[in-house]
Each structure stands twice: as structure tokens, then as C-alpha cells.
Amino acid sequence: MAAQKMTLAKGINAGLRAAMEADPKVLLMGEDVGKLGGVFRITEGLQKDFGEDRVVDTPLAESGIVGTAIGLAMRGYRPVVEIQFDGFIYPAFDQIVSQLAKMHARSRGALRLPIVIRVPFGGGIGAVEHHSESNEAYFAHTAGLRVVACSDPADAYWMIQQAISSDDPVMFYEPKRRYHERAEVDLDPQAGSILGLHDARVVHEGTQVTLLAYGPTVKTCLQAADAAAQEGISLQVVDLRSLSPLDTETIDRVVQGTGRAIVVHEASTFLGMGSEIAAHIQQECFHHLEAPVLRVGGYNIPYPPSRFEEEFLPGLDRILDAVDRSLAY
């Protein structure tokens, strides 16, 4: 199998198709995932090819979707649930936190719930309220779940398949404003570039400050690294990929190298992923740190109307400003 250029959206679509071909127990469920292919067309063409029993247009009720997915998983299926937009996952919060996360422990290992919940997340698409949220921290704080975020087409293609083959429940975050970005995807399962689902990746080498990001902000950080390079500053960029568990081995190694770290995400910083990462780093790399771990994120306000989102979202300027502050220590 050769490499192929595709969008991130197509990467997930192709990954879902591969998983469905490999295992007849894999089902897709969600609102409008059938004929429409989902509002982002991620499941496009799949109902046509796999039928209505495997690509299920559900009633409009997220608790019902996740709750019935749990029942299907108990019966041996591997449901992949699409939540239409980040802001609509909350009606399912109870099923996710009380049941999905806990069932394996509750049953002392007798039950497994190999369910993937796909969440198109983040802002930057000019949407109305509730359509631009970054709620990954809620689930990362929830023991029993695994939480990952892809940031490019290749990870999209491979990580969704790895998530589906995980026997644990996985929250799968998709950076919706990156859906249409294209890149080469190596379709060869032996490709050396395929990392484990929970491994972080250094996506840009650098020596002075480490930027830690995931999902949509990885690209922003890469742009920041390019811009900084022009000013003679060398930034390292890490795509965390997995939010729970964190790949702390990689994080510790790279931060011990630069001595300076900045976490960049769209979620509000107060108790966002950056707080856990900062708390971890200051503990494990205490003597290596030249400056405190800084956090650049969404402000601590509800996601604002779209005319404000450019300022709300962490952009190049704010990242570079934090880099300056870090270097100033």
C-alpha cells in the first residue's frame, strides 16, 4: 500500500472504513451519520457500503446514543459513536462518567466496553455557540477513559483504527478546523512512522523552548516555531497526541532538554490540560526548569461569539509572547 495525499477528514473516513472491513462487530452510531455522512461528512459513503445496521442514524439524544452503545458493546459490538459537535456531548456526560468509564472496574474485569466516542472539537470555524468547545479536560480527569487527539491526516487514519481496536473506551478528539487540511498518509501498516496510540511525537526539533500542543494548536505551534526561527529563536514542538494517559516519558525527556516549556491549547487554562502538564513537569523536572511552565490557552470565559474567536484562540502572537516571557527568566 502506497502513501496517499488526503485531508484529515478523509483520513478518519478511511480509517473507519478499514476498521469496519477488518471487524464486522464495528458499528458507527450517531446523528445524521447515514445518508448525510455526518455534518462534517466523516462517515460519507459508509452506510451505503456497510448498511443501516452498521452505520446507524440514531434518535437525537446523546445519552441514548452512548447508553445504547454500552449495551451493544456488552453484546460484543464495538460501537464508534459520533457526537455531532463538542458542545453536544454533555447530555451523555452521565453515561460516559458513571458507566462507560467505570464498567470495567465495576465488573472487576468481567465486562469490557471497547467504545470510541468521536468528538469534533475546538473553534475557529465561525460557528454559533456550543459548536466550538474544547472539553477534553473533563474526560482526562475521569479515571477509566483514554483520551486522545489527532492533529494531522496520518494520525487521523491510524489513531482512529488504534482507538477502535483498544479494548478500553477512548474519547477521540478531532480538530474540526483542521478537517480540510491535506497531507501524505502512509497506508502501509508496517510504516515505521506509526506510533502507539498513547505516544507523543516531537514534530519540530528545537533547543530553547518546548511547545506542547495537541489537536488544532499543533499547527499553530509549528507556525510559531517557523516565525521564531526567523528571529533566531529555536522552538521545539511536541504533539502530545494522547491526553490521558500523557506520554510523560517523552515530556520529561524533551523538557529536561530545553528547560523551558509552554503548553498551548484552546481550552480555558484554569484546570485545562496545561495545568496537569505544568504540575507534572514542575514535579518531575524541578531542577531542570529555567523558567516556570507557561500556559497559553483560551481565556477563562465561555467560548465567545465567533467575531471574537480570533482573539480568544491562542494564536501566533500570544505564543511568541509567552516564548519571550519564558526566555526572560
Partner: protein
């Protein structure tokens, strides 16, 4: 020991297929005029509401027609503004004008309405300025009006949430003693709007539980426009929504949502009951979404042109015009004057949209909390300092 079964995966489709005729509302549906606008005889279904319709004056009829036309034009303008990049999104009410105008006009000033996101026609009847509707879709605000001024809540986008707010608000009216006092100008009720898809949500059903138990002055108004984005009715329920109510202990009524007279009459009766302390009613307005779900949607992916054509024939404006003409209540001069008014409205909406001031960016930190909040204040201060830094740089 995962619970993988040894049973072979079943390959015939087990998912149910459509059985309902989605163009026929059935005998329970309340209707007063047919597709051409001809006034229908009394039927078992419409008799309880006939008096209300009969009490309407020709002027009422013309005024309803005017609302229908203006609301459609407002909607078309919203759609056009989105296409021209002035709005981020527009959810069109095309085809649902009668359902919304009928419901909106049945309300009194002291009643309170909780819309979804498509209720531009109800907003119009409540007196919300059309341009106020645009702020949300332009992305400058999450709602351009103060809910308490005209007793019209903000649009609610998370499906189902507003149904419970409406129920609670109605429970508040009960505690305020403005239900069942017999004082027409004081007694009040609440209307809650959602769609066919909305009936599946937990919150929707919990609102039926709470409203039923509290005997709250609430009218639940479900616009069944046959589609929840790409999903037809049979993927949301097995029997139509109006039947849901009886299982919670109060009446459910199906009304022809394209017949403004019928919608008005049924809603007025339900509101009168609610205000009088008789408790909740669920109304299902059987209608059709003629356009796309929103400007982001492509309905050709999931429904046939033929189906849309059938429903285009059932156009609510055409019917009302037919009724007025047949009765001799309106003439061409009237229709033309309404069209001119619609043209003026369109210009007004367009101009207002284009002239909408760009909000200042630091406003995003305002009114997050009522009382001072150190985190927000610090972030606002930093943001302003940071912005000022740029401006200084640029000025240099």
C-alpha cells in the same frame, strides 16, 4: 472475558424502514382550510376550535397574511445575507411560517416564549426587531435582545434545554399567582418550542414529567417539519409526537402546521387553558421544512425533490391568500401593499446587518459574572495591555 458472542453477525437489515405517509397528517389533525384555501366543514377534530376561528375578523385574517409574508421575506433575507458572507449561518423557516405565526399570535403580552433556533416567525410576532435576530448568526452576540423586555427568551441551540427552562418559568408563574385568577390581563402562560427531533431528548421528556406533575401553565409546541437535519420522523419516534402527551397525563393535539387559522385556534385554546390553571398541552404542528436544515446543509443528500414538490404545493401563504380571496376579505391592492412592505423590510434588514458595528474585542470579557471575578478581570487587563502594546507598535 469480554462478552463477544459466538453468534454470526446478522446481515439482513434490522433497522425499521419508514411506514408513515409523511404528507398526510391523518384524521386527528385539526385543519380549517384546505390546500387551496377553501374553508373546510366542521370535523370531529376541528369542532372544539371552530368558535375561535369564527370569532376572527377579516382584519385578523389580513394581518395574519401580512405576518406570513413579512416573516418569509425576513427569512429569505437572512438566507441571502448568509450567502453573501454577512452571516455565518442561517436556519431557514421556509414552509413553517404558518406554524410560527399562528403560535406567536395566539400569545398575550404577559405570556413568555422559549424558542429553539428557527423561530424567527415567533420572534416577529413577539415584537423582536428583525435585525436583532441577526447578531447571533453574524457572530457578534449570542442573542441580540433582552429576554424580559418582550417576554421572548434567547434562542437555545442545545436541543431540549429550553423545554425545562420553560417548565420552570411556568412554575414560577404559578408561585407568582398569575395563573387561574380569572383576570385576563394578568393570567399568563409559557410556550416552549422544539422540533420533531427534539422530542427524543431526555430534557424534552423530563419537561413533560415536571410540567405534568406541577400542572404548569405550559404549552409545548413541536414543529414537526418531518426532518431533523437528515433524519426522517421514523428515526425519531414510532408514533407522532402529539400522542406522547397522553402518556404523561395531559392532552396532545395535532394541527395542520401550514394552516395558520388552525394553528392559531389550537394554540389559543391551549394557552387559555394553561392560563386558567388547567395545565399543560402539547401541540404538534404538522408541517415541512422546505429548505435546507441550515445554510450549511445539503438536503439533496438525503431526500427527494419529489417529496419537496408535494409540500411546496401545501404552501401556507398560498393557502391563506386563497382563503382571503375566496372570502373576499382581501384584494390585489392589499396583496401588493404587503409585498411592498416586505420589500422595505428586506432593505431595512439588509442595511441594518451591513451597518452592524463591529464589537470591540475586550467586550468578550464582560458580563461573564455579575460580581467581580479576579481571573476574568486579570485576563481582561492583560488582554487590553497586550492589545495596547500592538497599537503602540503600529503607531510607531
Amino acid at each position: 472475558m469480554t462478552e463477544i458472542r459466538d453468534v454470526a453477525v446478522h446481515h439482513e437489515t434490522v433497522v425499521p424502514q419508514a411506514q408513515q405517509d409523511i404528507t398526510d397528517g391523518g384524521p386527528d389533525m385539526v385543519q380549517f382550510v384546505d390546500g387551496e384555501g377553501t374553508r373546510l366543514e366542521r370535523t370531529a377534530a376541528n369542532t372544539p376550535y371552530a368558535e375561535i376561528v369564527e370569532a376572527l375578523t377579516p382584519e385578523d385574517g389580513r394581518s395574519m397574511y401580512r405576518d406570513l409574508v413579512l416573516v418569509r421575506r425576513l427569512d429569505a433575507e437572512g438566507h441571502a445575507l448568509q450567502r453573501q458572507g454577512e452571516l455565518g449561518l442561517w436556519p431557514s423557516l421556509l414552509g413553517q411560517e404558518a406554524a410560527q405565526v399562528g403560535a406567536g399570535r395566539a400569545m398575550r403580552a404577559q405570556d413568555f416564549a422559549f424558542p429553539g433556533y428557527r423561530e424567527h416567525g415567533v420572534a416577529w410576532c413577539r415584537g423582536i426587531e428583525p435585525e436583532q435576530l441577526l447578531a447571533l448568526f453574524r457572530g457578534v452576540d449570542n442573542g441580540g435582545w433582552s429576554p424580559s423586555e418582550l417576554n421572548y427568551h434567547l434562542y437555545t441551540i442545545v436541543i431540549g434545554n429550553q423545554m425545562l427552562h420553560a417548565t420552570g418559568y411556568a412554575m414560577g408563574m404559578q408561585r407568582d399567582g398569575v395563573v387561574g385568577t380569572g383576570d385576563e390581563d394578568r393570567d399568563a402562560a409559557v410556550m416552549a418550542f422544539t422540533g420533531d427531533g427534539g422530542t427524543a431528548q431526555g430534557d424534552f421528556n423530563e419537561s413533560l414529567v415536571f410540567a405534568g406533575v406541577a400542572n404548569a401553565p405550559l404549552v409545548i409546541f413541536v414543529q414537526n417539519n418531518q426532518w431533523a437535519i437528515s433524519e426522517p420522523n421514523y428515526k425519531q419516534f414510532r408514533v407522532p409526537p402529539y400522542q406522547r402527551a397522553q402518556g404523561f397525563g395531559f392532552p396532545g393535539i395535532r394541527v395542520d402546521g401550514n394552516d395558520v387559522l388552525a394553528v392559531y385556534a389550537v394554540t389559543k385554546a391551549a394557552l387559555d387553558n394553561a392560563r386558567a390553571g388547567q395545565g399543560p398541552t402539547l401541540i404538534e404542528a404538522f408541517t415541512y421544512r422546505l429548505g435546507a436544515h441550515t445554510t450549511s446543509d445539503d438536503p439533496t443528500k438525503y431526500r427527494s425533490a419529489a417529496e419537496v414538490d408535494i409540500w411546496r404545493e401545501k404552501d401556507p401563504i398560498k393557502r391563506m391568500r386563497g382563503f382571503l380571496s375566496q372570502k373576499g376579505y382581501a384584494d390585489d391592492a392589499f396583496y401588493e401593499s404587503v409585498d411592498r412592505e416586505a420589500d422595505e423590510l428586506a432593505v431595512r434588514v439588509r442595511t441594518a446587518c451591513q451597518n452592524m458595528p463591529e464589537p470591540s474585542q475586550e467586550r468578550m470579557f464582560d458580563e461573564i459574572y455579575v460580581d467581580p471575578h479576579p481571573v476574568v478581570e486579570r485576563e481582561k487587563a492583560q488582554f487590553m495591555e497586550y492589545q495596547a502594546g500592538f497599537e503602540t507598535q503600529e503607531a510607531r
